[in-house]
Symmetry: C2
Subunit: 347 residues, 2 copies
Amino acid sequence: MTVKIALWGVGAMALRMADMLLDRTGVTIVGAIDRHPDKVGRDVALLAGRPRGCGVAVSEDVDAVLARRPDVVLHATDSFVDAVAPDLHRAVEAGANVITIAEEMAWPDAADPVAARALDAAARAAGVTLLGTGVNPGFVMDSLVLALTGACASVRAIHVGRVNDLSQFGPTVMRTQGVGLSADAFAAGVADGSVVGHVGFRQSIGMIAAALGWRIDRIEETRDPIISDVRRETPHVTVEPGMVAGCRHVARGYRDDDAVIVLEHPQQVRPELAGVETGDTIRIDGAPSIRMASAPEIPGGAATAALAVNMIPRVLAAPPGLATMADLPIPTAWTVLDPKPAAGRDA
Amino acid sequence: MTVKIALWGVGAMALRMADMLLDRTGVTIVGAIDRHPDKVGRDVALLAGRPRGCGVAVSEDVDAVLARRPDVVLHATDSFVDAVAPDLHRAVEAGANVITIAEEMAWPDAADPVAARALDAAARAAGVTLLGTGVNPGFVMDSLVLALTGACASVRAIHVGRVNDLSQFGPTVMRTQGVGLSADAFAAGVADGSVVGHVGFRQSIGMIAAALGWRIDRIEETRDPIISDVRRETPHVTVEPGMVAGCRHVARGYRDDDAVIVLEHPQQVRPELAGVETGDTIRIDGAPSIRMASAPEIPGGAATAALAVNMIPRVLAAPPGLATMADLPIPTAWTVLDPKPAAGRDA
């Protein structure tokens, strides 16, 4: 059996996924959906930078692509449940399993429990599985943390820090992180919602709390400007000394007055110019306590695409309904999509 | 429903598990099996250091304990498949799910594929699940590594190092690691098999290779003495300068002439006296490459007991048969054993 994959949204992330899929056996790309006029009609493999096409052109005809009966739709169009829910319903109702990198779909209850329930019901009715994943939310600040708690008899508190580099990103990310603004403009942007920071803290806190059986009474978020002492320049933005190089976004999940889950995510351009090293740090206070750190950070773009592709066999094997990264077996890298026997089953 | 647990083997590890279980709701200890005359007849909770008993006395009557129909047997008697297989068959055939910390059971094919197949068949016939777990093998050098590969599009090679401290262990571990020997006696012990080093490399390599779909042509192991420059003393052993403080055991899994999985585990007493810091280091060479390190190491005893207990809900939810840590959803710490709804299912 060859697993048929459709891409819905053919941006940079989907093209990384396509590149991975083209190297694998047991899977084939059967369609790609996007409305952008620069993409419609073009071969997905060529868009992904491969020297030869794969014979699948980007189409804006959703029904025509879904009529090819993909086993899995890899969905990458937007961050928010309400924005993606109509697409997800359409794919699920066409009988496709769906893996989306919409950040809020990693734990959709946090954003919209009614929409989450409706998506779960639709997936169950269609006999398919729907999963939200990505590097964060979906991995570094939640499912990887949960995997580490597996070695703990008890857990009192969790702290995760992720220091990353935004230099590779374009104007949209610069705007939503407030990069290049004055401190005053940054504060105004936080107040009016145009400086967003990270999308995913509430999802990660929700996933951790549910898995550990923790009650969280409230979540508080702060967004502070990272004011640069030095000039920092990328192809998309120039930050003069005294201006904002990024957003230090922190979320604290409280039980009573204790911040039992603290997630810190300072994101900025050219951190190395300020002597800042990037990396992920997970601290679990418990019995035993665990401290793990990666340096540099697990890279966002590459890891999000990899997680989406690597979850394909897990989603194919999962029971119908809305799943989370905490429900499914650990993802692993794979190159050949061919269900492997477990230990002892056909040694 | 209250989940009924029996302990088989009431050593230090099982008593840690008992201590965890006594703090949890939704589970109850219904029996404990051990033949040691110092333990038979004694209350498990008192043996675990609790101030009050739990009403369950250690028994040497295996049939009587299994007749209490435990849902899960936590098995902790020995390291080797051939030593534990009769017990595991007996528990499985009595209708109990089994979680064992026998190192070789983390991936029993590596030691005895025939025994693994028979255990799988017995578990399937009885409709129960059998899992081997522990900190290593079972976690640090395999399932945690696999979880990290989930963020990789491709993996070329894996290197894991675990530097730990043996000071807390007694005479058996000192002997099997060669602690306190002369260099010559250590070499003789390696040659005659009395210096064992770590049990689990072949299991970890097997689990990683199967999950990644890698062919491994051969595994080479080396056991070298860690000669101490300083005097090191524990309650169980004294190491004079020039004597062996531990065993640097390394396994390399080769594909053709490439060591694609390298696992290093130098174990010694009082590493701090030689300026050695303990810790776990995972390096995945791939796209992207990932480096994660914990310092100090994830502690062996505490984590092994925690993993065994934390896998209880996963094993209860798993399909029948022999499972591995790579097959089941990520373990998480839990305190209340009460299957939690997934996201969106009853928000």
